[in-house]
């Protein structure tokens, strides 16, 4: 489960526009923003969104249907946030993450969360080396770019809490030393909503650190036909192949994308709209607990990423509204009355969104 790392850290300074050319990618688009000089932000931005769209097209090859989920995962990647994916078994949660890891040239690690998993299994620990007669730091699987936390709610709270620090501060404190994880760093956690026995629901603090909570739903009929056709042809028993996917971007490309997205202009009105949505959850009668300021921040960041993914040069209210459900649904708690009536959080949030006026100019 743990993987050996050399103690020295990879360079984690953000490179705004890496000057080196693209590595492997023979994508139809010109390799990303990497080559673009900072002088021409518009062209840089266009290239960035082309790259993002190429990535999306590649992922859609692996994961048929679920375009909305792919968009959301990509916007979280661009916005530098973490994602919690929820869905019944067999919808391709893990497949999506594997495909993303395949398209992404950086490091990828996977932790299967089990009830007996310890925090040190996640973060790493010190071991005594008999030869050198010294304690040697053994880094855990979190020291990676993409971390798949599979079935995260199967581990008890202390193990889940091991992720708290690394998710927020991008660093792990081991033996009193704060070690930085390589950037970009993204946690993709999956959980199963139906099987609640023997699981540990994520605490609020942990949930709040996830930028988006995505729901995977059953595919449409035509899409399912397509899936069945492809999988039935596959040589591996019942798995979709991800080996055919090309590696489209490297770690620094992702950092560049993130930088470009965070530079995307956003009008004051749109900013205000995002804040109003987050604030509305706090006074909404159907919600007992509203979203905190992290929600407003996540709304804006995710809106920027969506704008980039859309190919736009600026953020429009649609970008904010489009990601509002995914940003808010795990940060609010529904009032028990509505819960008893069988309403879902999404329905309540949709009512709320229908009441918040769009930006006024």
């Amino acid at each position: 489960m743990t993987s050996e790392h050399t103690p020295d850290q990879p360079d984690n300074a953000i490179e705004p526009a890496p000057a080196s050319p693209e590595p492997v990618s023979e994508a139809p688009v010109t390799p990303a923003a990497a080559a673009a000089p900072a002088a021409n932000p518009t062209a840089q931005r266009q290239r960035a969104s082309q790259l993002a769209q190429a990535l999306r097209a590649e992922l859609q090859k692996a994961l048929i249907g679920q375009t909305a989920v792919i968009d959301d995962v990509l916007s979280a990647l661009i916005a530098g946030g973490h994602v919690l994916i929820e869905g019944v078994p067999g919808l391709g949660k893990t497949l999506l993450v594997r495909a993303l890891a395949r398209c992404f040239g950086g490091e990828f690690a996977r932790i299967q969360f089990t009830p007996d998993l310890m925090p040190s299994d996640v973060t790493g620990h010190a071991v005594y080396d008999l030869k050198t007669e010294q304690f040697k730091l053994r880094k855990g699987p979190v020291f990676t770019n993409l971390l798949l936390a599979d079935e995260i709610n199967r581990a008890p709270a202390k193990t889940q809490a091991a992720l708290l620090e690394v998710m927020q501060e991008r660093q792990v404190t081991l033996e009193g030393r704060a070690l930085n994880v390589p950037l970009p760093f993204m946690v993709l956690a999956t959980q199963n909503p139906i099987e609640q026995e023997g699981t540990y629901p994520l605490p609020e603090a942990e949930l709040d650190r996830f930028m988006l909570k995505l729901r995977m739903d059953y595919p449409e009929q035509s899409e399912e036909l397509n899936i069945v056709r492809q999988v039935a042809r596959s040589s591996k028993a019942d798995m979709l192949e991800v080996t055919a996917l090309r590696t489209l971007l490297q770690a620094r490309d992702v950092l560049a994308l993130q930088k470009i997205a965070s530079d995307l202009p956003i009008d004051e009105q749109v900013l205000d709209y995002a804040v109003r949505i987050a604030r509305a959850t706090r006074s909404w009668p159907g919600l007992t607990i509203g979203a905190g300021p992290r929600a407003s921040i996540a709304l804006v960041r995710c809106g920027r990423a969506r704008a980039l993914l859309r190919g736009g040069d600026f953020v429009v209210p649609d970008d904010i509204k489009g990601c509002a459900l995914a940003v808010l649904r795990h940060r609010v708690r529904m009032s028990p009355e509505l819960d008893i009536e069988g309403l879902s959080v999404d329905q309540v949030l949709q009512q709320l969104l229908a009441q918040v006026p769009a930006p006024r100019l």
Binding site: P265, I266, D267, Q269, V270, P285, G286, D313, F314, V315, V316, P317, D318, K321, E337, L338, E341, L353, A354, Q355, V356, P357, A358, P359, R360, L361
Partner: protein, 522 residues
Amino acid sequence: MRLTDASVVIRPRSAWEAVDLGVLLAKQHAGLLMLSWAIVTLPIFALLCLLLWDYPSIAVLIFWWLKPAYERLPLFILSNALFGSTPSLKQALKALPGLLKPQLLASLTWRRLSPTRSFDLPVQQLEGLSGSARNQRLVVLGQRDAGGASWLTVVGVALEIALMFGLISLFYMLLPAQLELDWSWDTLISTDTHQWLWLEHLSNLFYALVLVLWGPIYVACGFTLYLNRRTALEAWDIELVFRQLRQRLTGVAYAMLLSVALLFMPVADNAMAASEAAPVATDPNGPDAPRLLKQPLTSEQSQESITQLLDQPPFEHRETVTRWRFGDAPEDPSAEDAKSLDEWMKKLADLAQLWKSVDGVALFFEVLLWTLLFSLLAWLLWRYRDWLNAFAGRLRMPQVRRYQAPEQLFGLEVAPQSLPNDIAGEVERLWAEQPRAALSLLYRALLSRLLHEQQLALKSSDTEGEVLQQVHALQQAELSKFSQTLTSHWQNLAYGHQQPHAALKDELCTGWRQLFERGAQA
């Protein structure tokens, strides 16, 4: 009806004793009663099941509702059997159509839920009373045993339910274990599976079977309650004793009469003429005459003091008791003679009737209380209106609400009155110095047209993208294209802060004129 032929001992009983007697009576004729009941009800049940195969609960409801109709036959049998002439099954079934006719509608509608059903049935079936005569009769009869009859019904409901569940669990226990293992309770509970309909019909059948047992007993108990009440009212037991006396003495009566006559004959012969009638004067020497007049204590004085003594304790104990009494309490019937007893009974019946007509005061209070209740409800609704808006609003049936076009959208005035007449001209005029105002005016005009001409239900929470989606849903290619262009330029200006270039002016104005102004002229 001859009381001497009655197969039960007629004497006044308590209501519970009477019910007990009813059970015995039903037990005595159990075979006939249950067989006839089964012959009548089971075909009806089967017919209902066939007709309403998909609605087992409605079938059993109708079957249950028809119970008063089935109950007439057992009463017929019981009333005949009580006085010795038990009908055969064939005779009973033949009599059924005639029994069903009178007041069937009333029995099945407003009297269906009466708690004293089996007690009231003899009045209409055996006495043949209807209308107000029946009501008066029931008032008289119900004075004592109505409570017992109601309890009989309540116990009957409980018994029916208990017996039915008992039968169902017996059925379940008799299932072989292998079959039981495969029993999937989920599918049993889910309503949409039709394969379990037969099971519901089966449990309904258990109800029908329970009724075969309980129905006749219920009727018999009601009947004996009724008999008991009449025994008390009409003193059947005393009448019976007299009749028995007469029967016993019929032979010796003549001889006795003759001997008595002979005994008195000589006395009549020796009678003499009456002497001159003298007024009976008080005897001057009688015990009441004043005597001992010359003594210190005369007889009058002594009598007076005796009376006084007798008037005091311990010979007389008087105390004053004060208590509340109803002013119009019926007088003690024992004070009346036999003739006025009848009158008194009538008065009592009238009084009972009066209770119903004296509702004037009660009506006032009823109205008052209802008004209070409604105002309380109204106050509660008003008090918790916010809460109800939030939580109960969604419970309402989805109603087609007339869409009220908002006057403002995204902070822009979109009412048609607020826009200039020649929009394209105005835009062209504004474009040079205030491009933002010009584009804003054009977008506002587009929204206004969408709202008022295309009747799009736009809300203030709709973003530009959602407005566009609604326009696309209209499936008007030109409008969609124009809206798309305009929206993207408007977004560029508003959120991207990019100035529109000059060529755009003509394109948009031409598009506007083609779309709307030509349409307006046409």
